[in-house]
Symmetry: C2
Subunit: 132 residues, 2 copies
């Protein structure tokens, strides 16, 4: 059993603060051996950010705030509010815009190692050692 | 992309209301092909419940409420409050007690099919078709 508290991750390499404005705290990474990674991400009010996870599927659950999700593959828009989950099961290009501060709980498969970077598409690049 | 809203799952077979008092809403199951299942579980104030997932690992993130987690393998106790995650990475026997209403976001690997039952140990039994 592991117990991890968000305050213990602040200021460590498991808290990623993006120049764009979002913050992602990674509670569980590949090294934890769960088969998924588990993060909490905060979007500040007004932030609009394009993402495209070419190498991962991701589930995102909103428990606080209000926003708008756009599927850039289809143009569909979805209101995001507490109790809404979205699953990026098709490596969908998407844009998330926060109307108020969004608190999002996220799981990634394959698990994020913590060493990925966002490339110009907003995708996580698989760490070299994880590539086939 | 799939978007799932908690209100759309209420009253369906993806909302499991335990006679013990907890409620688990399953947003993503094995059929969704994410490699994990993704649930929100609510523990009412005062509920104390023993669990032992012999066949799964689970991550649990608390975003609301206060409780106490006991590792029944070691006797250790942990305060559960918003911003606390616990990972059952060793199939740990554990007890969760809610002091106030707990709201928990959970991911299971292997993904829950939705047809598991809790046996007398509090374990999920793997659905027959998933057994080796």
């Amino acid at each position: 059993m592991k117990v991890v508290r968000i305050d213990d991750l602040r200021g460590t390499d498991q808290e990623v603060i993006s120049p764009a404005g979002w913050t992602s705290v990674r509670f569980l990474l590949k090294k934890d051996g769960m088969g998924f990674s588990f993060h909490e991400t905060t979007f500040p009010p007004g932030l609009e950010f394009d993402m495209w996870y070419k190498n991962h599927v991701e589930a995102v659950y909103c428990y606080q705030g209000k926003g708008l999700l756009t599927n850039r593959e289809t143009g569909e828009e979805f209101v995001i509010e507490p109790g809404t989950l979205y699953a990026l099961d098709q490596h969908d290009r998407h844009t998330l815009k926060a109307e108020t501060e969004l608190k999002l709980v996220c799981a990634f498969n394959p698990p994020v190692t913590g060493r990925e970077i966002h490339d110009e598409d907003g995708a996580y690049i698989i760490a070299p050692e994880d590539q086939e």
